[in-house]
């Protein structure tokens, strides 16, 4: 039991006849914080259920997962995934290697399964939540506040959507969070002890390096850490920045040399995508609407630190991550680009509430009811408001459906399946509700989705060649080559960095027995060749997408 509750209880026991309003004032904060904890533990159960059901689904849930599995398979065979897109199988990765390398042992042990990377990513989010909780606990020493801060991260709609996918993004956020939390602790320990802890600082640098070689977007966190370091110890920050930049650059040059320049082409040039202003503005609005309490509390605390005390690394990290979230407006980017800002805001919110509680404690002394009661009540209420704003729940689980109904939330939504290569379809009932609105992610896959995936894989297996497919999963299932990474090809095509001659020759010669389209991500000349040489013979719906199954004309 935390101090303020003990103080309230002891204060209450001193009274022989406690009035009802006083009793209410004593117990109301406890009830509200208990309810908030229940709500966020509930979100964790929802998250775990979603993750477990995704682990069982053997096909792409999010377009691109299969290509990350392919990267892992190539690493498990001792090959680089940064390859020549101009030659068969026209495949290359556009992501740094660490997440896939970490997943390699699971692929060696169990084979190329989607659950391997999904499990690694999911565990990464749990570690991030634990690090957030630790950061708040280190300063606040209130277990319930630390738990709420960590659980709030897992309850974010964005973390829920992306956390258990075979995508490297949340693994990057894990390294970023660990680096920032450790850096804060190291500098605090150094300032308290008056001596330098270079060994621990080296660990921070390694975590930052790991974040950057998990996903390029980590540059913002690297910048935040060095800005903080420079503000506190300018000369030492520069002395550490030089070897850090040198090691980062040397690794970059080594991979580029090992891959004959394919690393630079595929991870840098291919990521220079057009910026869509409306997409960025829309995502910023959505992020703020979903995370209002966390964001406002974090912003207020950051501004307070700017003017009234020393800036913490958490405040700098939050602001830099927030500014960097504007890159969510790039074509191919999305909501997950806000995950770092969400992690930072969870820590800052926890610390901000701790500071206000500390202030109230000092003001009240041993009074049973006073500022502490008011602040605890407000904290409980604010976390409940935040929980309500983040509402998301698959309602095909009877208990979840009952909870949604009891809370007055919708128990289903009507969404038209996504079509690109077939005629539009009527909306259908989806047993998943989400405050983020119509979301393509978050709805757990069903037995019907698995059956649909197997049907498409059997369509591929009925031919003799690999399918020219926008998802890798069907070729994996049928034991065929993984051919093309469509979004990568489109990015390179838009930057005039790919020669499609061989690919178009193969399509024009109907060298592939089947073509599977989901969103028509291929470059226009490729789609033209497919349209001329192949025809749709079957439509299969999986995960809310209508796949076009094509055979040569």
């Amino acid at each position: 039991m935390s101090d303020e509750f003990v103080a309230l209880q002891e204060g209450g026991e001193e009274e022989t006849a406690v009035s009802l309003p006083t009793k209410l004032a004593i117990y109301a904060p406890r009830i509200l914080i208990g309810l908030a904890l229940a709500a966020f533990v509930g979100y964790f159960v929802v998250y775990a259920v979603y993750a477990y059901r995704l682990f069982q689904f053997p096909f792409d849930y999010d377009q691109g997962e299969g290509f990350e599995l392919m990267d892992t398979v190539l690493f498990s065979q001792g090959q680089w995934p940064y390859r020549d897109n101009n030659a068969y199988p026209f495949y290359s990765s556009n992501y740094p290697p660490l997440f896939h390398v970490v997943t390699v042992p699971l692929v060696w042990l169990f084979g190329p399964h989607y659950w391997t990377g999904r499990l690694v990513s999911f565990l990464g989010t749990l570690i991030t939540a634990a690090a957030i909780g630790y950061a708040v606990q280190r300063e606040g020493k209130r277990w319930w506040l630390s738990a709420l801060a960590g659980l709030a991260f897992l309850a974010s709609n964005y973390v829920y959507h992306v956390g258990p996918l075979f995508r490297q993004h949340m693994f990057m956020v894990m390294f970023e969070t660990l680096a920032v939390v450790l850096m804060t602790a190291v500098i605090a320990q150094e300032e308290a002890a008056g001596k330098k802890l270079n060994g621990r600082l080296l660990l921070v640098m390694l975590l930052l390096l790991a974040a950057g070689y998990t996903k390029q977007l980590a540059y913002a966190t690297v910048a935040a850490v060095f800005i903080f370091f420079f503000i506190r110890q300018p000369k030492r920050a520069v002395l550490w920045a030089i070897p850090f930049a040198a090691v980062t650059g040397l690794i970059f040059l080594w991979i580029n040399w090992s891959t004959n320049g394919m690393w630079l082409l595929n991870t840098v040039t291919a990521n220079l995508n057009p910026f869509i202003r409306e997409q960025a503005i829309g995502l910023f609005r959505q992020w703020f609407t979903l995370h209002t309490v966390l964001t406002v509390a974090a912003l207020v605390f950051a501004v307070y630190q700017l003017y009234f005390e020393r800036l913490s690394l958490y405040a700098i990290w939050f602001v830099v991550a927030l500014l960097n979230s504007v890159t969510a407006g790039k074509w191919g980017a999305g909501e997950s680009y806000f995950a770092t800002a969400v992690a930072a805001s969870c820590i800052l919110t926890g610390l901000a509430f701790h500071r206000v509680l500390q202030w109230a404690e000092k003001r009240d002394g041993r009074r049973p009811v006073g500022w502490q009661t008011a602040v605890l009540t407000a904290v409980g209420l604010l976390f409940l408001i935040q929980a309500n704003k983040m509402f998301h729940m698959p309602t095909d689980v009877p208990a979840f459906r009952a909870i949604a109904a009891a809370l007055g939330k919708p128990t289903e939504v009507w969404i038209a399946p996504q079509t690109s290569c077939s005629a539009p379809r009527d909306p259908e009932m989806i047993p998943y509700v989400d405050s983020a609105g119509v979301s393509l992610l978050g709805r757990p896959p069903t037995a019907a989705d698995t059956a649909a995936g197997i049907q498409i894989a059997e369509f591929v297996a009925a031919g003799h060649t690999a399918a020219f497919s926008e998802d890798a999963g069907f070729n994996f299932y049928a034991g065929r080559d993984i051919v093309t990474n469509p979004t990568q090809l489109l990015n390179l095509y838009n930057n005039n960095q790919v020669d499609l001659t061989d690919m178009l020759d193969m399509l024009n010669n109907q060298a592939f027995d089947s073509v599977i389209l989901r969103a028509q991500f291929y470059p226009p000349p490729v789609l033209d060749a497919i349209g001329q040489q192949y025809e749709t013979v079957e439509l299969v719906q999986m995960n809310g997408f209508v796949y076009c199954l094509m055979r040569p004309r």
Partner: protein, 64 residues
């Protein structure tokens, strides 16, 4: 680093951002004649950064 030095750093950053948005035009990256909508946003942000910097100057030698 002091709050005042941090203020100067903010002002420099804001000026750099404002100049950068025009350099972008000189390099031919903009698609609008005059000041475009994204450029206007960038200039507003640069102005806000400069204002924050100016507001930090009176805080003097307190540690940043």
């Amino acid at each position: 680093m002091t709050k005042r030095q941090l203020g100067y750093a903010f002002i420099a950053l804001g000026l750099l951002a404002a100049v950068g948005s025009f350099v972008n035009d000189m390099l031919g990256a903009g698609e609008f004649q005059g000041v475009g909508p994204t450029q206007r946003l960038a200039l507003l942000a640069a102005g806000a950064i400069i204002l924050v910097g100016v507001s930090l100057l009176p805080l003097g030698d307190r540690p940043a």
